[in-house]
Symmetry: D3
């Protein structure tokens, strides 16, 4: 047995085991103006998630008695190591931004009963204040907390039924990847750029898949590698779900 395949291997730059998450921190209510908010940290990755809940739905949904949840992801220009131009200055949103916004929206919609939400809209804004890999998975995980708080607020206000929560489950996400042939969990930037395969997995609190997005950055990957990555992801998201749960219980 080589140390590389050991789950307790210390070959990672930050000394973590291959199946170990970075330190996770979730600060609920960081933003006072939003109906729900959370500042989430996956190690040095720091994302501010706000949930804006308003009555009414977009025109194409009106009169159907159902709600809508959508998301927008963005990165501050100096969240990263070198500054990037603002998308507002460039006058258009890049493909990567679009792609991640859509992923976050789909992930959250998977745990919402739109009929129970009623004709209300939630916009989840996930702004990366500091980036060190895994920003989209931190965003999904934090957005769930903001969403849960916004819905609790709407229930207290009587905008949403007090007894019947539109939340059907929780949802969290984590990245996994293969580095030097070894599957590892929750990649920071230095690992991310070296990974041969990179996968983002979105999983419900009850352990089912919402999204599986795996990409061969270097060599294509085989079925066994895929299975190892999915194992790691299920382990990591279960841990994140527990953190979400205890965070949300605190305020009660």
């Amino acid at each position: 047995m080589t140390s590389q395949t050991s789950p307790n291997s210390t070959a990672r730059a930050d000394g973590r085991a291959v199946n170990e998450l970075r330190p996770i921190s979730i600060t609920r209510g960081w933003s006072q103006n939003a109906e729900g908010s959370a500042l989430i940290e996956f190690g040095n990755t720091r994302v501010l998630c706000t949930a804006s809940l308003t009555e009414g739905v977009p025109r194409w949904l009106r009169g159907e008695g159902r709600g809508w949840v959508t998301a927008e992801y963005a990165m501050l220009p100096r969240a990263t190591n070198t500054r990037s131009a603002r998308e507002a200055v460039k006058g258009k949103i890049g493909g990567r931004t679009h792609e991640i916004s859509r992923l976050i929206g789909r992930s959250l919609r998977a745990v919402i009963d739109m009929d129970a939400l009623g004709e209300n809209t939630v916009v989840l804004d996930c702004d990366v204040l500091q980036a060190d890999g895994g920003t989209r998975t931190a965003a999904i995980t934090g957005a769930y907390v903001a969403l849960a708080d916004a819905i609790a607020w709407a229930q207290r206000e009587g905008i949403v039924h007090r007894r019947k929560s539109p939340l059907t489950d929780s949802v969290a996400a984590v990245s996994v990847g293969i580095i030097d042939g070894v599957p590892v969990l929750d990649l920071p930037y230095v690992e991310d750029v070296r990974a041969e395969t990179d996968m983002n997995v979105v999983v419900t609190g009850s352990g089912s898949f919402v999204e599986v997005q795996g990409t061969a950055e270097g060599a294509p990957f085989d079925r066994d590698e895929l299975n190892s990555l999915l194992d790691l992801a299920l382990e990591g998201t279960a841990e994140l779900a527990a953190i979400q749960r205890s965070t949300l219980e605190e305020g009660e």
Copy 2:
């Protein structure tokens, strides 16, 4: 045993078995001006793929002796059942278009040796002339044929080394999904809108994964369902790889 779970079930609207592709047609050289081109049809889905190979690379790659491959996907306004506004008229490219363009580019880059390509650039344009589900998978499958022809042309012209092809493998893609609990292969539009889970899988000619993108549109999916979908996808892409091979052999 219900007929629905049988692999030979005829419950699909077009009478196909669950593991059966739609009729596939690839017309090489459909466009005379491009270095490589293919009009590919997956049933009623019809995509024109052209490969434009030019000497030189983008500024950020210059002087490294390596090439570049990128892709742009678009849909004619009336490719679909109801007309959509042109992205050029709206003045911006939508998130879905960006996402698919990026997927096609990554998929093709996975089977190219950039050093062997040398300082040359290939742009793959995939324009959907008629859409009936699976446009992105048809685009990838057809773009490979256009790319192979463009590279063969560059080898004949002496732009790329005649003996050492930059192509390391072939690549093809197919959609799979779960409908009424049954995993099926290659979904046309009517099935796509009903699918609980929708997955696009990109596989090399030698059977390794390049991309796995699965999304729960309805209920989240479990590990067994994921495995069934991957089985179907490997079966389908193997068949597509064989069609690509015979298409490319024809002209020789």
Copy 3:
């Protein structure tokens, strides 16, 4: 008499007489989703024309009982010999594209009785799949066929009165130009770039002018040259009108 001025001159690169059209082909119904469609070819120029007919009119026309017909022209990036950037990527439509879209729209509106069309809108999309000169004239000629089919469909559906067609005439277009002092009909790209004067003429089936757009690319032209060009254009469009007629009769 010099061979150059002879109508049977073989001085043209493709051996045509000065008053001879390129091989013309019109494939009706090439696109299954549109109410009307035609793939038209003027030699190697290939344009896909679709007619999308929907009930209702733009806001500024509502309540007047009259219809609306408009057109959008575009070129695939690799329709031409060297690839051009997509207008959607550039985020704006170029002047040439605008100009041609407007010309096509005006040309088709000239043969439509808007009162008979009723409060319905037809959008003609003309996408150049392959370009070899004369794309705007091929687009007009093909768009007429798509429009005629869309209107026939609307009459069958009872959206437009079955007895009173909104079509008042047919319309076709052709380019003419002066090369080395000789007026010629239907210029492919190699002739177009050499022409001293370039003219696009749009003519109804009954032989009246809808548009005459002549431009001196090199030396200004005199009244006699203008007259010769108009003669050629009337001859060419009469032939195109006959082809349109027989194409539309086929399906009956």
Copy 4:
């Protein structure tokens, strides 16, 4: 003989004969900053034309020893009877603006010897300060005067050869149209909206055509009508050429 067909008919709202121009006024040097400028008036239509001559040419022309002339047309928001939104505010230039800018550029290039101009660029800005029909023809006619002055300036400065003017001829433009079946010259707005056929004709000082753009706004037009319109246009542009000549002689 009806009064309508008489060239001295007073049926026009402003009492002009059918072949009579509106009062024409050209103020040279209206703008002090430009190398050449002219405020031109065709009746109430008022266009400020400036010619900006700079050394150097666009990148695609460098090193060929030839010059470049281009034009931009625009309208102040309240040049017209009701205010239109600024194109800068809308963030894009409309089709009509593009079309006219291109027409002005082509018209002026027709009377310039680019080799004699040398590697210098002239940009003609034609801004409509007040609009009452015929703005594009006034713009061409005024832009010629601004161009001539800019070239004279460049010759005095030694930027362009003092003995060999790049101007090969003068150029002017006028609109003609058919109203109630009668061909008339130089249409103000009230006539323009009523015209069945509308034609803009650009003619050199020596009487050759640079552009002929005729459009059937209502019924298509026949060969005889076309000929009458061309006769009127040649008459009108000859008069404008004489006014340009005397205006340019004044300052000498």
Copy 5:
């Protein structure tokens, strides 16, 4: 006492005293189509101001019985010594343009009683035809005249109450600055680029401040300098108010 601090100093390039305005000219009704208009000149700076008054207000103001006044500022490309690209061509409005448009709008709203205006909207377009410093202050001063005329028109038409003018005061603006330590009034371009401090002051006819915008371009300025600049500005705007008054009285 040094000549520099003397109010009659002739140290300025154009020989003016430090507290002397450039020659001011206001031509009312320069534009026939607008409800009010003025061509204003501050020396060589020339701005065309039009006021477009229409019934109705923007959606967000409807039903409140109050009016709206807004402004748009722009510069012709060759208003300046070297040509700048059109904002419409660039597809976006620059920060400076935005800033000035907003300043003009606020300045004019300060002298309007929105209740007395009723549900009517005035758009002030200020287009700089020739620029030589102070374009924004000329624009405000001229826009007031155009606005006054548009309101007088609306009163004559009965759109606005004939007895109760919505104008509560007049408004004018002037630039002041410190050059070589000396505060001066109404800076032309040559002075503007040399000024250490640049201030634009908007003052009502009755002598109160509407806007004070001072910027240290070079060294920061102290309280005494600020006071001297404000003194000069009050002197200059009082003179401008008198010119506005006599201009508006002329037509009565």
Copy 6:
């Protein structure tokens, strides 16, 4: 004497004296990736300021041996009480954003010796995470701290001369306004919307003015009111300068 005019008046909603700042907090180095950063809080207003220092200058400054400092201001969509659309989504930057970005840039440039900075560029990004009035003044005050740290870093790295700091002074800003006739310091949102006059004042550490921007939102203001506002602003910025100084001394 009324309690309103007393400097110790408790008439403000948050109980502050008229000349009292909100609680000010500056967290240096909040962002690990930037060369300098500060999270600044003026009460509930929270702005993240980062300074990105890179070698080299924009093209138009090259070869002059001088540096460049610029700023970009933006607000997260849910920084405010109701969510606003992202400027990146709208595809353009609003006038207010432009105006504030320019103000911040000018303010910081006023305390930089560009020759001492050398050919280096600093971009100051000021992103409002939570807004409660005074965001632009907090941004300037925080940006100074980020800038000072970035310059200290560049001096340690030897990019900028170790002995000769390009900082010539410090700079801070505060808002002042007149509410119910009483001049007050540092307005939160609830006061801002009620203010008759609103002024932003930028002052150096040594007490000179960099910018004075006063606007009459309601009634115009007179000279005495202006003087009272300036007094308050000088008092407030002196306090902010002291806080900046002690913050920057901490890390030493």
